[in-house]
Symmetry: C2
Subunit: 282 residues, 2 copies
């Protein structure tokens, strides 16, 4: 049965949103809705226009016989600035400071709407980086990795600091924890990352960068390639960070352990990604 | 500027999909698109029809001054059966069996499309259960909890078996691990779960049910209420399970440790939820 344009637009929107970064041939929609390819092209032009106006995504057209359309989720500059400002405010709330200069984030990183925005924002930075897998370390980086993985539509892999018997053979590396200068060990299931994968590292919180550095070493062990590092928040760290190239959404810049307060502000994410965020406004 | 119907339908669909189980007043859309309430009502009727035909969601209308529309994600019976059959097949692949009768699931539980389907399916069972929070235990249950939490649009909380300094004060319970009959300890950050919360427990794999039982004890400690237990897969367990009321998507029913093979089939999820899944076909 031929499907009406209004019904097509609704179903098409849902279908595309659930499959980011996936090439969908026009013939697929043409068959699904029993409609001419020319009608489908017109539909997609409307979807493209609406996504662009609302700055929520780019609908790429790939021409030719093997072509189709691809939905690329993005966050526009205004929304990104508002989100980061809102998060900085939330992080600066009293009672978030934990012993050791850590920050309580479990409430934010367990809230679906926050995770959706973090995922869409980080995916905006790496939308042209051809990421094959998102990597994080258990446990608090997992929600961020999963959300970014949803928007880039690639798998995520979880590095562990404790051995579990339920993962099969693993590859492990030693790393120096930046905060405590202790030697630690982390490992990843052998079969979870194919060689030559392009890997994006994400984490919830970075201090000295030791954990991130460990993940870099692990990526080398798998003969894979790191394409970037992004953390939700970076903390204050006295001394040399082991990692120099990264982006952070938030920076915790003033910590007062006596008054039990901290102050959070925007990290370097916005400045580093102006161009990628501005595309949304075109 | 008044927005055309086609543009409204696309943006409305996206807006609703990103906010499941959330009441949105008609006046919100009316203002957003500078369109009459009667036009918005017609738009929503089209969205409702398309979601129902494709069995992907229910658009509930709440009448009255405080009313509006609410998008409830669901999975229809056919899609649920196909998904569970496909997962059973994947689990029965060779080389998934790990020492101790565990099953390698990290690839599936790190794949965005699989997690979306798990989340939407489990959310279908609990769509009328007024869940306030989804609970799981670190680390392998986290992706499932996060995905269900996205579709129910409620926070998720992560119980830990190891103490981390970065969570603040915790409440802990001892529990008996069903597999090893050892006494173990699990804990949850004190501020992560308000009293009287209605809590849904999810996990990746259940054998004896000891871990799930521990979470039940923890829910009691927080003066909260458990509303259900759903696991992705249940394994073979010789003896009495500590948990009797639960649903499982998959059941691992034949394990041959010599040949290193297992056989997986549908769990009790489909049979227990026929009615809730059939509503999708109405």
């Amino acid at each position: 049965m031929k499907v009406r344009r209004s019904d097509r637009l609704i179903d098409m929107t849902r279908y595309l949103l659930e499959r980011p970064h996936t090439l969908i041939p026009l013939t697929f929609f043409s068959k699904r809705y029993e409609s001419a390819k020319s009608s489908i092209s017109e539909d997609l032009a409307i979807v493209r226009r609406t996504f662009a106006q609302r700055q929520t995504g780019i609908l790429e057209t790939v021409p030719g016989a093997a072509g189709g359309v691809r939905y690329i989720p993005i966050m526009g500059e205004d929304e990104a600035e508002n989100f980061i400002a809102a998060m900085s405010k939330r992080l600066s709330e009293t009672d978030r400071l934990l012993p050791g200069g850590y920050v309580y984030l479990s409430d934010l990183l367990g809230t679906p709407s926050v995770l959706r925005q973090i995922g869409r924002l980080i995916a905006t930075q790496y939308r042209e980086a051809h990421v094959d897998a998102v990597m994080t370390v258990a446990t608090k980086g997992i929600p961020i990795a999963q959300s970014v993985s949803q928007y880039l539509n690639v798998p995520f892999v979880i590095v562990r600091r404790d051995s579990k018997i339920t993962e099969g053979s693993t590859v492990s590396v030693n790393y120096v924890s930046g905060s405590s200068a202790r030697i630690e060990k982390m490992e990843l299931s052998k079969r979870s990352l194919p060689a030559n994968s392009r890997v994006l590292i994400v984490d919830d919180f970075m201090k000295g960068g030791g954990t991130v550095n460990g993940m870099k070493a692990l990526i080398d062990e798998f003969n894979a390639k790191m394409v970037g590092i992004t953390v939700f928040a970076e903390g204050k760290f006295d001394g040399d960070r082991m990692v120099s190239e990264y982006t952070s959404l938030i920076r915790v810049d003033k910590v007062d352990t006596k008054a039990n307060t901290l102050h959070a502000t925007a990290g370097n994410f916005l400045d580093r990604n102006r161009q990628l965020l501005e595309v949304a406004g075109q």
